[in-house]
Amino acid sequence: MIEIKNLNRYYQVGKERFYAIRDISLSIKKGEFVLFHGVSGSGKTTLLSIIAGVDRPSSGMISVNNELISKLPDQHLSRFRNREIGIIFQHYNLLESLTVYDNVSAPLIPERLSLKEIDKRVKKSLKIANISHKANSIASTLSGGEKQRCAIARALVTDASIIVCDEPTANLDRANIDIFLDILKKLHKLNKTIIVSTHDPIFQKLDYIDQIIHLEDGVLVS
């Protein structure tokens, strides 16, 4: 459950104040598939970053899974992000010199699990993301679609309840977009809360979207 009230994020440049998002209030239920839609610069990524605990608001309240994340001290916020949020970045953000397996297992390092448990979880995530066959490949040698599936596996490995995706289809061809959407559908069935920030119109045609949130100049328009 995500609860947002009167959320603002602005940047102070000299005496000017630039609002990335302004007075946003919304709520997302567990297991919902939500789309943040809007043109570049509309505040989608800022809002997504705040929900993911990557950024902090300037004012307003945000609670994720009953945790007031805007008020969490840094070490708690890092732990929260690691356990509760899976992030799929537009540019994947993989560790290019490591194998797919190592990239996917990286979020489990702070969890201090046994090697057996780590292996079990990584293999399960690789299977869901349909990238098991590339487990031992170096990330830099993968194609764009494979990199993204590796990023999906990494987002799933901690069994996060919320998956956020920032412009996930921006660098993919049509075939890979279809594979990606299939995986998202699978995750939705697993009762994961999925939030996608995109300006790609293909998402609006999906029949399993629960909410579409339109942003314009940082303001929620519908």
Binding site: K5, R56, S58, S59, S70, L72, D74, H76
Partner: protein, 331 residues
């Protein structure tokens, strides 16, 4: 200006203390602002900025506090070093007793360290709780500590500035010797009794820690402060120096005695401070402080082991114990 202030070690020490004080002064000012404006239930921009600021100030305070823990042994080391240039003084004992500031300074430093440990403990639980339940308590405690640190800084300067290297000082044998014929041991105890008490109180501390009896532990700690100190001064110390009449808490900090005084007194006071902090955590904050208590047990065990080692080592080497010094009571 007293030329002693230009001594490298004193200059480094005073400058170090001054820089830390300036850093803490900034933290103090910001801390007062935070205390005035703090409202955790608010979601305004001001409150978010204050929370970020509070985190930054916390990091500054922790860093400064860690430096304080390093500066205490350096203070003792400095006193020990200048005893070479001050006539009459053979170790820190003479230097610290030169003027009225010396012992006051030592006690205020110990008090500050104890309060710092308590602040660190409160801060740990405050951050762990996510909603800063002890924010105001730790902030007021910091205000009090800062006032003490300001007094300490003045006394630091006044102490060294007031040492006249042309004046002859007392040495430790005059200060801690048994020449006056007065029993220096507390509660009218003799050496045998104080050593028995030393091990009994140590056992009492250990058993009350594992038996989870905080009040007995507190009594044990209060008793262990004088008993531990006097046991080292008038019994274990003589085995460290291997001289029955050498009673000094400071000489053992010198190179001649392998700097054994640092781990010995460090573990002793460390154990006392950890114990008091652990009791406060459990009784006042209602928090489990097992880790602090285990550290306390470890600290006291190191202390008792070092003390016992020197006695056994002397016996192993010489086949006899040191002849106890006869203490004549003044009736």
């Amino acid at each position: 200006m007293n030329s002693l202030l230009l001594n490298t070690d004193i200059a480094i020490f005073l400058l170090g203390e001054f820089i830390l004080w300036v850093v803490l002064l900034i933290a103090f000012g910001v801390n007062l602002y935070l205390l005035k404006k703090w409202d955790f239930h608010s979601y305004t921009n001001l409150q978010y900025r204050i929370e970020k600021l509070a985190y930054l100030i916390m990091v500054i305070i922790i860093f400064s506090f860690l430096m304080k823990f390093i500066l205490l042994p350096y203070f003792v080391f400095t006193m020990d070093k200048i005893s070479d240039i001050v006539p009459g003084a053979m170790c820190s004992a003479g230097v610290i007793s030169f003027n009225a500031y010396g012992m006051k300074l030592f006690f205020i430093k110990m008090a500050i360290l104890l309060l710092l440990m308590i602040w660190l403990m409160i801060n740990h639980y405050d951050i762990e709780a996510k909603v800063y339940p002890w924010f105001r308590a730790k902030s007021w405690l910091f205000v009090f500590i800062f006032i003490l640190i300001t007094i300490e800084l003045y006394w630091d300067y006044a102490f060294f500035a007031d040492i006249d290297i042309h004046k002859v000082l007392n040495c430790c044998s005059t200060l801690y010797g048994l020449l006056e014929g007065v029993n220096p041991l507390p509660f009218g105890l003799d050496k045998r009794e104080i050593i028995i008490l030393f091990y009994m109180i140590y056992a009492m501390i250990i058993s009350s820690t594992f038996g989870k009896q905080n009040y007995i532990l507190l009594i044990g700690l209060i008793l262990f402060i004088p008993i531990g100190y006097y046991s080292v001064l008038y019994f274990f110390g003589t085995y460290i120096y291997e001289m029955p009449n050498h009673n000094c808490p400071f000489c053992m900090l010198q190179k001649d005695y392998y700097y054994i005084g640092y781990p010995l007194w460090g573990s002793f006071f460390g154990g006392v401070f950890l114990g008091i902090t652990a009791i406060l955590a459990e009784e006042r904050l209602k928090k489990d402080s097992k880790r602090l208590k285990y550290l306390m047990v470890l600290s006291f065990t190191i202390f008792v082991t070092i003390c016992t080692f020197f006695v056994l080592h002397y016996y192993y080497k010489n086949g006899v114990f040191l002849e106890p010094v006869k203490v004549e009571m003044v009736m």
